[in-house]
Symmetry: C2
Subunit: 362 residues, 2 copies
């Protein structure tokens, strides 16, 4: 039976449904969708969030909507997940919005721009500041509907074979760093490299690259970088709280019954919270293990952070001037960001700072 026939049959069975939806979207059709994950199976946090999403959606729909999770490479590569959903090769994927920035830089906004928001602030813009609707207006141009589904929290600033103290130390540095972070560091003399996850360690070991950024302590530990680059920097200003997304082919989304749309939405929220909780609960122990093997923690200097921030803001102005889609999203962010950060600086920061200052003794 083809999908359309399944839907029609199921809609007939559920004739008692009273929802005001088109005929195809009523009742509880039996759907089996393929979901491509962009994350390695070994990452129980990010890959695991997709697996959890599938399990929860099945429970919520009593088996009506089954998502079958595929690891990168099983159907398409991790970086091709958005395209595969866009052209309906697969119905949905669990990925990162900024993987689409080759098509339009505005994709980077959905997962969080450098220096703009931490995880919670990005959620506030997304769920209350109009971000979710604006991003989906943008995604619709690519036949996609997207929803946040996971977050790493503030990432670390990566692994370096030598100390990076001044702006001069960035000149000519070959660093594996993607997305917006790479574009910004390029302006400061870094030579950004695009290397797939599985090949990074070897490149670093051979000296093909001098540095790499990946994620936070728990995920980074699994990839073994500490053995070949001992300086571990903070903060990862290009990913202060990057969001993962669940993407569905737009027509598939529009054809879903309201209850299935609600199931995907609520389950994405839960998967999001669980992934962030996992990393928050595990990163600390991982960091202590890393330091135990000789890793040296360093903070980027104010000189470097200031220069990076300045270049970042210039880049946003340039992008706004030439890309109206980016400009619209960025304006929406700026309409809320100043006040939000002002308040959190007054209410959250003094609380966090004081508790951190005392908790080491307890």
């Amino acid at each position: 039976m083809k999908r359309r026939e399944i839907l029609t049959a199921a809609a007939g069975v559920a004739a008692a449904s009273v929802m005001a939806r088109p005929a195809i979207a009523q009742g509880r059709p039996k759907l089996k969708w393929r979901m491509v994950s962009s994350f390695p199976k070994s990452l129980d946090t990010s890959f695991g969030a997709g697996v959890f999403l599938a399990k929860r959606v099945s429970e919520l729909t009593e088996g009506g909507l089954e998502l079958q999770v595929f690891a990168p490479g099983e159907i398409v590569g991790g970086l091709e997940a958005l395209d595969a959903v866009s052209n309906d090769t697969v119905e949905c994927c669990h990925s990162v919005s900024f993987y689409g920035l080759g098509k339009d830089i505005s994709f980077a906004v959905g997962s969080g721009l450098p220096f703009i928001f931490n995880a919670r602030q990005l959620q506030a813009w997304t769920f209350e500041g109009g971000g979710l609707n604006l991003m989906n207006e943008f995604y619709s141009g690519f036949n996609l509907w997207g929803h946040p589904c996971g977050n790493t929290g503030a990432q670390m600033g990566g692994w370096f074979r030598k100390e990076i103290a001044t702006l001069d130390d960035l000149k000519g540095l070959k660093m594996r760093i993607g997305a917006m972070g790479g574009q910004i560091l390029l302006r400061l003399g870094v030579v950004p490299q695009q290397i797939a996850g599985g090949d990074i360690y070897a490149a670093l070991e051979r000296g093909t690259i001098d540095a790499v950024e990946w994620s936070g302590a728990y995920d980074d530990e699994k990839l073994g970088f500490a053995r070949v680059a001992k300086y571990y920097y903070s903060p990862g200003w290009w990913e202060g709280g990057p969001m993962l997304h669940f993407f569905v082919n737009l027509k598939r989304w529009n054809d879903l019954p309201a209850s299935y749309q609600a199931a995907l939405t609520s389950a994405c929220h839960e998967a999001n919270n669980r992934m962030l909780a996992q990393l928050d609960a595990r990163n600390g122990a991982a960091l202590k293990r890393l330091v135990g093997t000789g890793v040296q923690l360093r903070l980027f200097s104010k000189e470097i952070l200031d220069a990076c921030y300045n270049e970042t803001m210039k880049l946003y102005d340039e992008l706004s001037a030439k890309n109206p889609k980016f400009a619209k999203l960025y304006a929406s962010i700026n309409a809320i960001r100043g006040d939000m950060l002002l308040y959190q600086r007054i209410a959250e920061l003094p609380y966090d700072s004081f508790v951190y200052s005392r908790s080491s003794g307890r």
Copy 2:
């Protein structure tokens, strides 16, 4: 038709269900539950989170589980919500765990202890550090099942008619402050007062009290405290990220089909994120309006924060020594807290601090 009959009839209709659950918990029974909110209807954030939960659960269950929301006083008072659920007067409520601390101080742990966690850290303990199961083990002794369903973020430290610079200024201060915060300040000479939300303004205006803590800028603004107490302090160390809860009568919970349990759980996550996003998006503008009317922002001094922190930790030790339930929960928190805060101090704090320092110019 009584509830049991409704359940039985519905289970018969849904004979095709394949879930491995007791007979009563299969299919899609039609249930209409009463949910008491502990929050004033005027607070679209906290009261609104309960309203959203009801709407979403209805969508997820296709009208199978309908929650009818009642404001405080319509069935029972806001502070009696937990009791009403415990004794099955109503099936469920949207409230705060610490409202139960008169029965056992351990209730305070569920909504967050002073100086322990911010909102995200509390979620990490709850969802990944074993907190959810431990709290429900505790709640089960009161016929309750509970799940996080909303958060305010770090609250402000309240409104004072005069400046509070030293520990001496706390002596004899009559302050409306409840729960654990009041117990701690009592040890430093404050005279804590329990006054219901609607009566606070008048008490402050008449000088019956000298100070009041309520929530953050957006909620506080609605209650008008700025007109009678102009010093607004930060941080609200007794509520660094307090969590609201959805509570269900335990037997009602156990009798639910798995799909309804999943619906309540996922919808609670979504309601939680939306409420926090609302406050994060709105608190800043509210604070600016307040400052525009002459409100003076102040930070509690290190002397005061240190003394409060020390008394708090002593109190936890005392409670652990005499209350095994509290001791078990507190030990679980301490098993995760040190490492979690260590990491966030290294990854989140430098990011947030730097961005705050630069964002005022942008």
